[in-house]
Amino acid sequence: MNALIFTTILGIIILYLGLTKNKTILAPTAIAGLLVTLFLSFKDWGLSSSFFHEMVIFDNFSVAFNISMIIITIVIFLFGVDYYKMMELHVAEQYSLMIFALVGAFLMTSFSNLIMLFLGIEILSIPLYILAGGKKFSFKSNEASFKYFMLGSFATAFFLFGIALVYGASATFYLPEIKTYIAQFHGNLPPMLLIGLLFIIIGVAFKVAVAPFHFWSPDVYEGSPTLVTAFMATVVKTAGFAAFYRLLGIGLLPLPVPLEKALWVMTGLTLLIGNLVALKQSNFKRLLAYSSIAHSGFIMLAMLSQHSSSASVILYYTFVYSVATVPLFIIFILVKRASNGHDHIAAFQGLYKKKPWIAVFMTILLMSMAGIPPTAGFLAKYQVFVLSISQGYLAISIFAILMAIVGIYYYFNVVREVFTDRDHLEPLVITKLNAGIIIVCGVAVVVMGIFVWHLPI
């Protein structure tokens, strides 16, 4: 709770610092503040404290997810030092909006009442709608912002309607009470309740871009400023899945059969669309967008396996995925800068010649995304498959494996570009800080592949 409060204050502080017109102090302050948050979060570990009539519960689950999101945000902010040098206006606003979004994310990981979920989603989303439109004069950015906003609100409407229906039946917004209420039907839920739950699930599924509610994500990812995209692809996704798991895995377990089946269908669709469409992408950002959809599919697989270790697996998966994704975006931005705004994957050609070490680490990161040993990405997928297969979902697991192959295909398509020569090479400037982030993340991906953890969450 302290972390939550402190983060809120941090956002406001940054906002005020923006008035000083001194951009250089923003990132350090934000990072320092987040480090404090990190520390505060660590202190919450193991306490499992609930606040305000159990509106939020900071149990190990939420603390773990919060920590992972804070770390990722710090990495993103570290890169922001360089990224926002070019930008003159509204830098403080951008930082503070991200921090506010982080507050929303905290709520999503720790809610125990549907209203907190609703508010969490909104507090996360509204800053993002704004951030997506951060490049005010870019039509693409405008479009991304509006699409995100429009579709997001639309999904929220369904979400709210779903909450209303569930409330109508159960007369409560408390997740545990809803769970007890549902339990009395022994799996034979009345249609109204089913639809209500479905709408709630759809509302959350929309946030994590599960097909067929994924349409916003490629467009928004592409149109948004890349740093924001990185934030969306990592922190938002993590928060979304934390919320999803809290909703399904903690709140509604065991899932009513029709809902479970519907979710399986969504999982299958997500895997299919995410991977196959990513196959056809030549724009790196869109590629990552689709790949992020694909990863959602894998995480869904872990979640639906309904095993006691699902939460840990999801945490591991999202964190590992985030750690790999952020530096990829960073490299992309740098390469794009060097090649005059070229955002095709062919822009990576010659990277191996220009910056061999960056190329190597990029390969490691992509390997992790593709799930190839010895990277953490492999262990993440491995754990997912262990869950799904040992719970007996063989067919979907085989399907997921096939899709993983497709995934390897498009990630290594990029690798192939990285290691392809090009005739004339533009100079590529990588600051020490950025190189440091990339390398640390690359190493982290390998180290996490060796020192896998399992948290009792």
């Binding site: 609703f118 429009m150 309607f161 409330y167 917004f173």
Partner: protein, 109 residues
């Protein structure tokens, strides 16, 4: 006054559900129907409000105030969303001189 306060007992809950569903469907239809972004935003408001109505009805039926409080929060959020949404619209209008939703198609595939 008493008549009004006990009105809820005369009207079956089902009616409110149907009314909300109707309103929700109309709003949804409007979102699909219109091209004007402003109009679509209005239709979205309709959808939110149908949820509000439903919550209020259930709240009354259960005699549980939390439903009404939820409605209050929905209103808050709706207001914030509208503010953001309209500011996005304003920004877009500046850039493209139009509020036609069909113009939003540069990002695709």
């Amino acid at each position: 006054m008493n008549e009004i306060t006990s009105a809820i007992q005369l009207i079956p809950l089902q009616h409110y559900i149907i009314l909300s569903v109707t309103l929700f469907s109309i709003g949804m239809m409007g979102v699909l129907f219109r091209r004007n972004i402003i109009a679509i935003l209005m239709c979205l408001e309709l959808m939110f409000n149908s949820a509000n109505l439903l919550l209020a009805a259930f709240s009354a039926y259960h005699s549980d105030p939390s439903g009404q409080v939820f409605v209050f929060f929905i209103m808050i959020v709706a207001a914030a969303e509208v503010a953001v949404g309209l500011s996005i619209v304003v920004m877009m209008k500046r850039n493209v001189e139009s509020v036609d939703i069909n113009l939003l198609n540069r990002l695709k595939w």
